[in-house]
Symmetry: C2
Subunit: 407 residues, 2 copies
């Protein structure tokens, strides 16, 4: 009888613990084939330093349920890139640890870099004839993994962005003067999360009226023309931008502001593109303008999660265990949308080759970006709407959400 | 039979519409004494320009219930200071409008400046022998009105701050390296909302470990010593600061960063104190550091509201109407905490002289600030905890909150 080890890696999401829940719950249900369910603390990096827990012993049934709705990464995380050279001494070291703990099944919940870890470990495992099965469980708010319809974490982040943008629109429209609000959203290379701001719209022409993604070149003069046209139609204009928008030469818009900006300590001020555009609008248009950065709450808000996303994240974990028990290795649990046009949304898990997934990024299709690069079309709305459905019933204590913490 | 007019003024909150709901609901229930229930659009400023609605006709019963849980200001708002001189032509103009609409009862929902409006109108009314009753309904996330235990809007903002800080703490502690996160919270003069970040703590010594309010002088060197001590005890340190913290000479900390910071368009960059402290920590400590500004979501988040706050905001509106019907004028609806020590929290509404309230601010008592100015004591926790209790059951549509909008 072999044991399971599971780890979390990369940035937190609202549902990465739901996937951990899925792995643990399913593994514990297979007591005839699986012994202990270990968790790496701080990912593969912590594991190499001997940091791990016995999750089957650590968590009561009640705590396991609480884990499912706790944001961020219960086991802690790391950003650790495995050596490219499979001959590096790292590999026999980590496999010796696997042997000590009698590991038969390895699960790693994360994004792009984590899938690279799964790919390398499974390739090294194949090379040395290891029987361990290596499975990747996807997670990223960026939604930029290929070979999967979407990634767990995106639905909740998209719901948070759409709800919050809708509220900021309400807030911004209480006065009757001309005013521009620029909302900067996460997404350095892929604009999926920024695109989700379109879901905040209640009718055609409603705010946010301008949306810019990294997938389309950003031009300051075109932006000025877009904004002028919008301000002619309405007093209050909300603009949503990805942090990673760049111009046709590949220069990030956030870099436009950094040259002259030194603080009193002589350091370069790090300014987001929202602030840069705020200053531009103030100087060019002379209207009231403010910028808002939604920041880390996009990825760690447990109060606004999509129940669909939570359940799918858990299913990804459950299916990973099932695949491993069937003997599959070197795969990531991918999501396939199996419903046809007009049918209710349905998703199925399938194994995809992890070597194909890692180190590649999925951009928002250029044809989903409309309005000469300043808007998002119906194709994205149809794609994203099913992913933000449903609310989670959260445990509360003293007026605040009750989450699970590692002791 | 006379009519009611009600308006909203100042910055939005999550529950200012719950007070509007309370006024409308109670006024409509007194059909024998009250005719129409009018709403000023964009406060007294819009009203003077002839902008108003007949709320009794405008809103269905279903919409009125939806209004109760819609954040921001349904009627729109304004920032408009009435002339100091009661002899100014403004006053007969606005009273002529009241007469046209046969107004008998005037309700104004807002903060400090709005209470100044109620005070001036009621003093002018007394001077000219007007029978109109003028009532102020308090609202501000800043909680800085005097003569009331707390203000509607604060409980929900405090709950939002405590929940969000707790999530940012979870997010920040996933890695095991030394790191500092600085969270900048609203509050230019009063630190009530920043103090609420202490509620995010789960046990003594938990993050946020350092909290600074405008009520205590901020000293950069003392901050460096506080932070050094905190970093010796733990890897991950969360610091919460009010936007309005200032040094012993009264210079705002956010001004420390502004001298050298000019953008590419030659304009002074407006930097918050969070950014200034981020740069300071980076330069002094060389650790990983980031700053997060919670921004407008503190006042307009409808997803994280306190049910206690919503109900109290509605009660303030209801009680305002009751007071007016009894003949009271020139008052604000104040909250008195009537429960004794150890008893369950209970609140009662009472009429307070609006002239006493306006243009004065209530600071956090200095003795509630502990730890040499870097912490918040139990007295505040006991005060604030009852105000953030309970969740509101919100109507959802297509995965997003369904709010009410003016047509």
């Amino acid at each position: 009888m072999k044991n399971v080890i599971v780890g979390q890696s990369g940035g937190p999401t609202a549902v990465i613990n739901a996937s951990l829940y899925g792995v643990v719950k399913e593994a514990l249900a297979h007591g005839e084939e699986i012994g202990h369910v270990y968790g790496m603390v701080h990912g593969i990096e912590g594991f190499l330093n001997g940091q791990y827990l016995d999750l089957g012993k650590e968590l009561t049934a009640e705590e396991l349920e609480r884990l499912k709705l706790t944001p961020a990464a219960y086991l802690g995380s790391c950003r650790f890139k495995l050596p490219e050279d499979l001959g590096a001494e790292f590999y026999p070291q980590v496999f010796a640890r696997f042997e000590e703990l009698e590991i038969g099944y390895f699960f790693y919940i994360g994004g792009n870099d984590s899938m690279d870890t799964v790919s390398k470990l499974s390739r090294y495992g194949a090379q040395v004839g290891s029987p361990i099965r290596f499975i990747g469980i996807p997670k990223t708010i960026d939604n930029d993994l290929i070979e999967t319809d979407h990634t767990p974490g995106f639905g909740s982040a998209a719901k948070y962005v759409a709800s919050t943008v809708r509220e900021i629109v309400l807030d911004a429209t209480v006065y009757c003067q001309k005013a521009v609000t620029i909302i900067e959203l996460m997404g350095r290379h892929a604009g999926w999360l920024t695109a989700a701001s379109v879901l905040a719209r209640k009718y055609p022409g409603d705010n946010p009226v301008l949306i810019y993604l990294p997938e389309a070149d950003f031009d300051l003069e075109q932006f000025a023309r877009d904004l002028e046209a919008a301000l002619e139609k309405q007093n209050c204009v909300i603009v949503c931008v990805s942090e990673g928008i760049s111009d046709k030469d590949g220069t990030f818009i956030c870099e436009y502001g950094s040259e002259a900006a030194l603080d009193n300590f002589g350091h370069k001020m790090l300014t987001g593109c929202g602030k840069v555009l705020e200053q531009f609008v103030r100087s060019r248009f002379g209207v009231k303008v403010r910028s808002v950065e939604l920041n880390v709450s996009q990825r760690c808000s447990g109060m606004v999660v999509s129940a669909t996303d939570v359940e799918e994240a858990a299913r990804a974990g459950v299916n990973g265990v099932k695949m491993a028990l069937k003997g599959t290795t070197g795969v990531m649990v991918g999501f396939a949308r199996v419903s046809g046009a007009g049918e209710a949304y349905r998703m199925e898990c399938r194994a995809v080759d992890v070597d194909q997934v890692c180190n590649r990024e999925k951009a928002v299709p250029r044809e989903w970006i409309t309005g000469d690069g300043n808007d998002i079309g119906q194709a994205f709305i149809d794609y994203a709407l099913p992913l933000i459905q449903g609310e989670a019933r959260r445990e509360m204590e003293d007026g605040l959400p009750k989450y699970l913490y590692r002791k």
